[in-house]
């Protein structure tokens, strides 16, 4: 039996993360509740270590491991690095909330780290089996995180919905993959793409499999009409978990879509382009229109996430290097905006008060002008108003769509974004022109305040100088595909 020598060096970040996460799991058992801070600091250090390792071992070429099941390319390194940053920020933002709600437990940090491992596996997967396992590692950790607040009936209900719908989506995905396997005889992404290019005996089976795979993918992305779980989970989960679900996993979903559609199923571009077009238009429509009716800001941001995923799909469906890189730019900047906006919600929450209704934002400017200004930046960016980065992200996606000749699609997207601008600007209006209902002082800890300010600065600076990040995205997509 011929078996290549296992080349482990591309996997070092994953291995390090697994070892450290397991170590934290063991150590946490020995720590009492009063020393839980050690777990928190260790989790942050783990992220820093993984980040450093990814940067220092990152090579500007594509390497494979385990006989082509694992791929380490620039796209993977870039996405992983942003994932570390976003998980780091999530942990810092959530600290005060977790302590206040008696959720500052070792399991939270361990599950977050394992979820990150799942994302990394997905980002670097080059085989359908690995892709699916990474997805399950991520999903299982997220289901548990949503349910972690056990005394809350809403959280339990959200976890139940998430679990059932997620299992259904996994089933559809596996069904689709099994059909693709039946038609091409390959689970390896490269072999499958080659077989599809050469033509298969049963093209109908391939298209049927593609339908199921795209449906499963849409479930995981939270794109309409497979979006039902998103609002309930965003609203029901504890806000730190919502912050986590709403940010880093989007990177993994993007990588998932890229590996699946742009690499393995690239020869079927004509087929999946139409499917994604329907998904994108429906998502932007449902997301932007339904968000107007919401009074709960977490639910509103959930619908906004659906709309943004629809916009991101526009970039992918263009099927060009330009389109993929603009979709990548979109998802990276969306993660930054998501971190910021949920970060402000966490900032306003305090013991016994969730700050999840729109009224809670009334008169924020009078209470603390700086954080009101940061929230204004995040809302402007989500709405796509220059000079924030949201504008540039939308512009580059639209450019890619126009280049493939679907001008009407770009027009529809712009019109629906205009509808969406209403509910983002409503928050700005509430903050600046209404009298405050709640008079409690807004005084976060220094590190949270600093990170939030940096987050806001990133939104603004990337909007004014988008070129470096855009060039990085273009380079990553170009050398990785």
């Amino acid at each position: 039996m011929d078996f290549p020598v296992v080349e482990l060096s591309p996997l070092y970040p994953e291995i390090l993360l697994l070892i450290l996460a397991s170590g934290i799991l063991l150590l946490d058992v020995l720590l009492g509740d009063e020393r839980r801070f050690i777990t928190y600091v260790l989790a942050l250090l783990t992220l820093l270590a993984c980040g450093a390792l990814t940067v220092f071992t990152g090579e500007f070429r594509t390497t494979y491991a385990f006989g082509g099941m694992f791929v380490d390319d620039v796209l993977a390194d870039a996405l992983k690095f942003v994932a570390y940053i976003s998980v780091f920020v999530v942990l810092v933002y959530s600290r005060a909330y977790l302590i206040g709600r008696n959720l500052f437990q070792g399991e939270f940090f361990v599950l977050v780290l394992f979820a990150l491992l799942g994302m990394m596996v997905m980002i670097s997967a080059h085989h359908f089996l690995v892709l699916y396992l990474g997805l399950e590692i991520l999903s299982l950790s997220l289901y548990a995180l949503v349910a972690l607040h056990r005394d809350s009936a809403v959280a339990t209900e959200a976890a139940m919905k998430y679990f059932v719908l997620g299992a259904l989506a996994s089933g559809m995905l596996l069904y689709g993959i099994s059909m693709l396997y039946g038609a091409t005889g390959a689970l390896d992404i490269e072999t499958m793409a080659r077989t599809l290019r050469e033509g298969v005996e049963a093209p109908m089976v391939v298209v049927l499999g593609l339908v199921f795979v795209v449906a499963g993918l849409a479930f995981k992305l939270g794109a309409a009409p497979f979006h039902m779980w998103v609002p309930d989970v965003y609203q029901g989960a504890p806000t730190p978990v919502t912050l986590f679900i709403g940010t880093a996993p989007k990177l993994a979903s993007f990588a998932f879509a890229m590996r699946l559609l742009a690499e393995a199923l690239q020869p079927l571009l004509a087929d999946w382009r139409d499917m994604l077009m329907i998904l994108a238009i429906l998502s932007m429509l449902v997301g932007n229109v339904a968000a107007i009716a919401q009074t709960n800001i977490k639910r509103m941001l959930a619908y906004s996430a659906i709309a943004h995923m629809g916009f991101m799909l526009l970039g992918i469906l263009s099927g060009t290097i330009n389109g993929y890189s603009s979709a990548m730019f979109y998802v990276l900047t969306y993660v930054a905006m998501g971190l910021g906006s949920f970060g402000i919600i966490l900032l306003l929450a305090r013991e016994g008060f969730e700050a999840e209704n729109l009224e809670d934002f009334k008169g924020l400017n009078a209470r603390n002008p700086w954080y009101a200004f940061l929230m204004l930046l995040f809302m402007f960016s989500l709405a796509g108003i220059p000079p924030t980065v949201g504008f540039y992200a939308k512009l580059s996606v639209l450019e890619a769509v126009v280049k493939i000749g679907h001008t009407w699609l770009a027009v529809v997207a712009v019109l629906l974004s205009l509808v969406g601008a209403f509910y983002y600007l409503r928050i700005v209006k509430l903050m600046y022109f209404d009298a405050p209902v709640d008079q409690a002082p807004v005084a976060p800890q220094a590190d949270v305040g600093l990170l939030l300010s940096a987050n806001g600065a990133a939104i603004l600076l990337l909007g004014i100088f988008p070129q470096p990040l855009m060039a990085l995205c273009a380079h990553a997509v170009l050398v990785s595909l």
Partner: protein, 200 residues
């Protein structure tokens, strides 16, 4: 009729009878036991096809673990049989329609093209447990390890969600018990000695 064919028909008949009894038995415990019998005979059929790994894992996992758990639940819970049996005749036509459709579909799939295909070439004859092991720990070692991580997360999640330390439960702290000193338990009170009353 060779001995192998005889065994095949024997197992098949037992399997079908057991399966029918699973849904017709009045007592749920009997149903569960017939299901065990069905699993066993199915494992026997797989053994005939030389799929010994599947056969063994069916017996180990389903008979050994799942069905025992099932029996426990059935015996522990007080299930009202009359309630369960209500509506059987109402549902029967639906069941028959669905069952009939499935038979037709299976006939369509199995009937037309696949009967002539013959058996796949099994290649070099090694036991399939060995063959599975060979690829599981070499070619598929990465997914195998990932599946292990997945199980670890399942354990962590299950414990995190169900382990509750109640505040009102009383529990012992052995270390404290061992280190206890006399002074913690016995209080010596000095009292003035009382004089004996007269006449006693």
């Amino acid at each position: 009729m060779s001995f192998k064919v005889f065994i095949f028909y024997f197992f098949s008949v037992v399997l079908l009878l057991a399966a029918v009894r699973v849904i017709t038995a009045r007592n749920p415990v009997h149903s569960a036991l017939f299901l065990v019998l069905a699993f066993f005979t199915a494992a026997g059929l797989w053994m005939l096809l030389e799929a010994e790994f599947l056969a063994i894992s069916l017996v180990l996992v389903y008979v050994g673990a799942v069905m025992v758990l099932f029996l426990f639940v059935v015996m522990m819970l007080d299930i009202n049989l009359e309630e369960l049996r209500q509506g059987f005749w109402d549902y029967l036509p639906h069941g028959l329609i669905v069952g009939g459709l499935m038979v037709v579909e299976m006939a369509m799939v199995l009937g037309a093209r696949y009967t002539e295909a013959g058996w796949a070439d099994l290649g070099e004859q090694v036991s399939n447990t060995k063959a599975l092991g060979q690829v599981l720990y070499t070619q598929y070692v990465y997914p195998f390890e990932l599946a292990a991580v997945l199980l670890l997360i399942a354990i962590v999640a299950a414990i995190a969600l169900t382990l509750r330390r109640r505040k009102d439960t009383k529990y012992q702290n052995p270390a404290k018990q061992v280190q206890v000193k006399r002074g913690d338990r016995v209080r010596l009170v000095s009292m003035p000695a009382e004089k004996a009353k007269k006449g006693e």
